[in-house]
Amino acid sequence: MMTHDEAQELLAAYALHAVENPERRDLEEHLAECPRCASELDGLRDVATTLGNVGGAAPADLWNRIAERLYDNEELDEVDVPPIRALARPVAPAVPAAAVTPLFERGAASSRRTKYVAVTFAAAAALLIGVLSVNLVRANSRVAQLNSALSLAGHSVVDAALETPGHVNVTLNGAHSGDVATFVLVNGAGYLVSSNMTALAPDKTYQLWAITKGTPISIGLMGAHPSTVYFSIAGAAGPGELAITVEPAGGSVAPTSPVLAAGRISA
């Protein structure tokens, strides 16, 4: 075990990432037990990052590459729990309002594992109905602005989907509002093509549902003012219908408001 004095000598170099194993490992063991050294390290890191704050502009499409990786399998491998299933866990419409938990709420440990179990139900086992794996990448107004500013390829992706043989258009109509939204589904992926969804208050969100055998399954949240929406649907039991409701900003495990618009998926 490294002594305190030895650790003190190394802290500044460590703050510069200039200490290598095995010294680094020994120092980290000491840091875990020495709040004084840990505190000093924080200060030295502040110095280092002040030097490193060189700035500059990032490449225009860097954000696009980051966004594409947010639900990559590489991260699933790291913790071996598929996080997105929380979005897709089928729920029965009879879940009482009191049992509703925000879909995106993570547990205190904020790990993938807690995300997976974050959606809790009184009788979750009884509610598993179909096999529907859904991955939703949502972008609300802020992301849309970024996308626009960065000239991302959102539209070309949608255009490509529309040009792919076998694609399916799904138009969601409201009882009183006509066409509300149109999605294109192709190869298990879905994209928002056009939308007449008006901006909601910040404490509300549009939520997209797949209706399978009469049961709504949350695909995910689209934000208060959807502009760019991508999701993937894979699995044995595909949905027969898509529906949109307006929910509290954190989302709902089952629809809490009347269906705003719905549309049948017909191949």
Partner: protein, 191 residues
């Protein structure tokens, strides 16, 4: 919920913990340039810097709990992560490329370079002032370690000095910088 562009960094990280992609986008908007800039500075390669920057933001997305606002600013946290990853990469690349040690030895104007790398002019002024409190040897050791990604052992080899001497120079220099920056009211890399 208030507008994201008015939310604090800590609030944004909390939202990221709830799968709020827009919060991550806002963090990227605020700090993406700094993260990429530091990665490129160290790696001297746009493609590799791009990879490192991606890793940094994806990791924040996956592990927002690792950021502790009590221990420093979000930018400091992100830049520290960026630096660690870039240094790991540059060392592995160095091993492959056998980058010329002599090139490092020929870097004559370390202090000038350091002083002109800091993006924010106001902070740069204070950093520049802090750097003047360092000896040329202390600046050189810090620059070789931080911006070129060398371990202190390697710096000692490059400068043909005992390892203990280099450890001491880095330590003394960093502490002087710390004192100067704290006196100037600068606590790490804020926005």
């Amino acid at each position: 919920m208030e507008q994201l562009d008015e939310a604090s960094d800590a609030q944004l990280v909390t939202l990221i913990g709830r799968f709020h992609e827009a919060a991550l986008a806002e963090v990227y908007r605020r700090h993406g340039g700094a993260v990429f800039g530091l990665a490129r500075k160290i790696l001297q390669n746009t493609h590799e810097a791009d990879d490192v920057a991606q890793d940094v933001f994806v990791r924040l997305w996956n592990h927002p709990d690792r950021f502790d606002p009590l221990r420093g600013s979000l930018r400091s946290y992100l830049l520290n992560d960026t630096h660690g990853r870039a240094v790991d990469l540059v060392r592995s690349l160095n091993a492959r490329r056998a980058r010329e040690v002599k090139d490092a030895q020929r870097s004559p104007v370390v202090a000038y370079d350091l002083q002109h790398q800091v993006w924010d002019l106001a902070v740069a002024e204070e950093v520049g002032r802090a750097l003047t409190t360092l000896t040329a040897e202390e600046r050189e050791a810090i620059e070789l370690a931080y911006f070129q990604g060398h371990s202190y052992v390697k710096v000692a080899e490059i400068l043909a000095q005992p390892e203990g001497t280099i450890k001491s120079r880095i330590r003394t220099g960093m502490r002087k910088m710390r004192t100067s920056l704290v006196e100037a009211g600068i606590q790490g890399a804020d926005q």
